[in-house]
């Protein structure tokens, strides 16, 4: 799981040829490049017309191929070869090269359109700069692809649920892959002969830059047809003969067969095939020689170092040897296990069995990683690869628009969800507030009920208190007897009491002869009136009377003790001080 962090995958790169479809994807983890999967789907050679240049991709088959492979992601890269793409070496002024990319592309489109006799607006043009020093002054290699074809590819891929990220050209991808065999010097001139089923393309590379690209007349299909006609075989059988036996230069002259020898031996088939194809092979050698010679004439101090063979035709046994012999150049198939005589790769691709027919797809995936289209080159120490991406700007714009549309859709969806969620929360809050209002109303009703109960309880309590107070009025304190007892105990010896009257009637005078029936009123019944006590008697002298008055005053209930009368009168056989006192409790006035 952690191993996947920091790794990145190349686009699933397709090389769609007439004879087959190859798909490859590369996983880059730092500087380590590991092939995820390589699929090779052979197409029947008879199905497409070898002479036809009509573009008829079967993306359904490609999609099925992707589904079978151990690929990841939905980015797709495409590698196209001539005649789908056209190359033109042009001579542009340096000022033109200094223009912005868009202006430069427009200028190149006009130039290429003039060469191709096409409309400039119908071409998607890219370019790379050629090494300096070209004697004829060409300094730019332009590559053109009809926009309609690019859009068709884009729509096909989009229809399959994938995204077309790159459209590369096979000369660049093959040159980049060839750079993994060894590290060419800047003056190393080497070639890649892409022997396709219907076309052969020779790419002459100077250092790391494809400098000269030419479509040759030779093709694998021509060779197969020639063998089919000569051997009177079907195309499939002729193809099988070509692949299994290959070619081998035979002995010159005619020789008579031995008596015990068959007329035609299986070992003679390569020689016979060679003889049948000799004319075409010689033409191929001449074309390659011419191309190399042309480049070597235009660039000084370059050394032709090798020729690499790619495409299905490169698998024909004996071809590499023949070309090496004829050209005088080390020639080998661009494959990772081409045999004991082939060069060991400086930077092999672990887990990937590179074959000549899959080399373009592998190189495309490698170029996708090394070109830094996924955010940084895999190995920054190496020089920047020569590459182009022929995907039209409109496709990029459509892709960007799609990304933005998806982003806006996601944002709008999130906003709607957020809005809906907030609205639901708001509704819930509204319900909660309604509930709170109901609760408040219930609480207020409870409060009213409690207050009503409190009023009732207070009323009941007050009624009980009144009742209690009313009952309390039945009980009365009676201090008079205690007071009189106290006075009697503390009265001096020289005092004789003759009359004690206690009455509440203070205004009408005392009538000790009878007790008048009281007029009972509510007030009188509930609040007993304080009694005023009048005491009459005789005292020996004033001193005794004074002591009696002091004793009476000591009784706190009587606030006022008044001497009403004191006079000497005869008493028994002598004389005594007759007196009359009035004791008034508090609140009683005379």
């Amino acid at each position: 799981m952690l191993a996947h962090i920091g790794s990145r995958n190349s686009a699933i790169t397709f090389d769609v040829g007439t004879a087959g479809v190859r798909a490859f994807q590369l996983n880059a983890r730092g500087h380590n490049l590991v092939g995820r999967d390589l699929l090779n789907l052979e197409l029947p050679p008879a199905q497409p017309s070898p002479d036809s240049t009509e573009f008829a991709p079967e993306y359904g088959r490609i999609a099925r191929l992707v589904g079978q492979g151990n690929f990841t992601g939905c980015d797709v890269g495409l590698v196209l070869s001539p005649p789908d793409v056209r190359f033109c070496s042009l001579k542009l002024p340096k000022k033109a090269l200094a223009q912005p990319e868009k202006r430069l592309r427009e200028a190149l489109a006009w130039e290429v359109a003039r060469e191709m006799r096409a409309d400039a607006h119908e071409l998607e043009v890219r370019h790379w700069q050629l090494p300096e020093g070209h004697r004829q002054g060409t300094n730019v290699m332009a590559v053109a692809l009809p926009i309609e074809r690019a859009l068709t590819w884009h729509q096909l891929v989009e229809r399959g649920g994938a995204r077309l990220r790159r459209i590369d050209v096979s000369p660049c991808t093959l040159a980049h892959l060839g750079g993994r065999i060894w590290t060419p010097e800047n003056n190393d001139l080497w070639g890649i002969l892409d022997l396709g089923y219907r076309a052969t393309t020779l790419t002459v590379v100077l250092g790391r830059t494809p400098t000269y690209i030419r479509s040759l007349t030779a093709s694998s299909a021509q060779w197969t047809r020639r063998l089919a006609e000569s051997y009177e075989l079907s195309l499939e059988e002729a193809e099988q003969v070509k692949r299994s036996h290959g070619i081998r230069a035979g002995q010159r002259g005619l020789r008579a067969p031995e008596p015990d020898q068959a007329l035609l031996d299986a070992d003679d088939i390569p020689a016979i095939t060679f003889g049948l194809l000799r004319e075409r092979l010689d033409q191929l050698v001449r074309d390659v020689n011419l191309c190399f010679s042309y480049v070597m004439q235009n660039y000084a101090d370059v050394n032709a170092s090798r020729l690499l063979l790619t495409g299905g035709g490169a698998n024909m046994p004996g071809l590499a040897g023949f070309l090496e012999l004829q050209l005088g150049l080390p020639t080998e198939p661009l494959a990772s296990n081409a045999g004991a005589e082939s060069t060991a790769w400086e930077r092999p691709l672990p887990g990937t069995n590179v074959t000549p027919e899959s080399a373009a797809a592998v190189g495309g995936a490698l170029l996708d990683v090394d070109a830094g289209s996924q955010g940084g080159r895999a190995n920054p120490a190496l020089p920047a690869p020569c590459t182009v991406n022929l995907l039209p700007e409109s496709c990029h714009n459509a892709r960007r628009r799609l990304v933005r549309r998806n982003a806006w859709t996601a944002v709008a969806a999130c906003a709607f969800i957020l809005l809906a969620g907030t609205w639901v929360a708001l509704r819930a809050a509204g319900h909660a507030i309604d509930g709170l209002g109901d609760e408040l109303a219930a609480v207020q009703a409870t409060q009213v009920e409690l207050e009503r109960q409190l009023v009732l309880a207070a009323t009941a309590r007050n009624g009980l208190a009144d009742q209690s107070r009313g009952l309390e009025t039945l009980r009365h304190e009676q201090p008079l007897p205690r007071q009189l007892l106290a006075v009697a105990q503390r009265a001096p010896e020289g005092i004789v009491l003759t009359e004690i009257l206690a009455d509440s009637d203070t205004g009408g005078g005392w009538n000790n002869a009878r007790l008048v029936a009281p007029i009972i009123t509510s007030q009188a019944a509930s609040e007993p009136r304080p009694l005023t006590v009048r005491i009459s008697g005789y005292a020996v002298d004033h001193e005794e009377l004074t002591r009696l008055i002091a004793a009476l005053k000591d009784e706190r209930r009587w606030e006022q003790v008044e001497l009403l009368r004191a006079a000497r009168e005869p008493y028994r056989q002598g004389e005594a001080l007759a007196f009359r006192l009035e004791c008034r409790p508090g609140g009683v006035t005379q």
Binding site: N397, R400, R401, R404, R405, A407, W408, T409, V411, A412, A415, F416, L418, L419, T422, L426, A429, A432, I433, L436, L440, V443, Q444, T446, Q447, L450, Q453, L454, A457, A458, T459, A460, R461, L464, S468, L471, E472, T473, L474, R475, H476, E477, Q478, P481, L485, A488, T498, E499, I500, L501, A502, D503, L515, A517, P518, I520, S522, A525, S526, L531
Partner: protein, 197 residues
């Protein structure tokens, strides 16, 4: 479709997306934010009112509890007092008790004059006049005893006349007159009905 290329590349979907976002923002503002703010204010007010109402309920409940406790106490007291309060039918036994105590205290009753029972402030009141001969201190002790035995009466009037003492015949007794007012509950007075409101 590209709407603008400089300074930034703007696609038609950007315009549509921004328009949708603006609409959503407006909808959020007028459909959610402003109502939410109003809701928050209303919620705060309702919460405060509810809290205050709960506090009031608690206080009222406590007051009600206190009042109920007071009612219980009062009810017990009133019941006890009603039970202990004298009734009209107890007047005669009380007068007999006074006469009995008078004999005990050497007070010679000469006349007992009860007055009719009247109603005052919902209670019954009966005045009874007593005439007797005896010593003044005995009368005072008698009255003190009566006061301690029964608080449901008052001394309305009292007269001790010692001028009639005839020492020559050895009679040192005074003329004693006093009037007592008895307080009673009507017969139909019952204990208060119990129970809380």
């Amino acid at each position: 479709m590209i709407v603008s290329r400089k300074p930034w590349t703007i696609y038609d979907v950007d315009v549509i997306g921004i328009a949708v976002l603006v609409i959503v923002a407006l909808a959020a503002c007028y459909g959610v934010f402003l109502p939410a703010r109003a809701n928050a204010t209303e919620y705060r007010d309702l919460s405060a009112q509810l809290s205050a109402a709960n506090g009031e309920i608690e206080k009222t409940g406590q007051r009600l509890q206190q009042v109920n406790a007071q009612i219980s106490t009062l009810q017990e007291g009133v019941t006890e007092r009603v039970r202990a309060a004298p009734r009209p039918d107890s007047l005669t036994p009380r007068i007999q008790r006074i006469a009995s105590l008078a004999r005990e205290y050497d007070v010679e009753m000469t006349q007992v004059l009860p007055h009719p029972i009247t109603t005052a402030a919902g209670n019954l009141v009966a005045d009874v006049e007593f005439s007797a001969r005896g010593h003044s201190l005995d009368l005072i002790r008698l009255l003190d005893r009566l006061a301690r035995e029964n608080p449901y009466h008052t001394v309305e009037r009292m007269a001790i006349d010692g001028r009639c003492i005839n020492e020559q015949v050895g009679d040192t007794r005074c003329n004693l007159k006093w009037s007592l007012r008895f307080y009673m509950l009507p017969d139909d007075a019952a204990a208060p009905a119990g129970g809380k409101p």
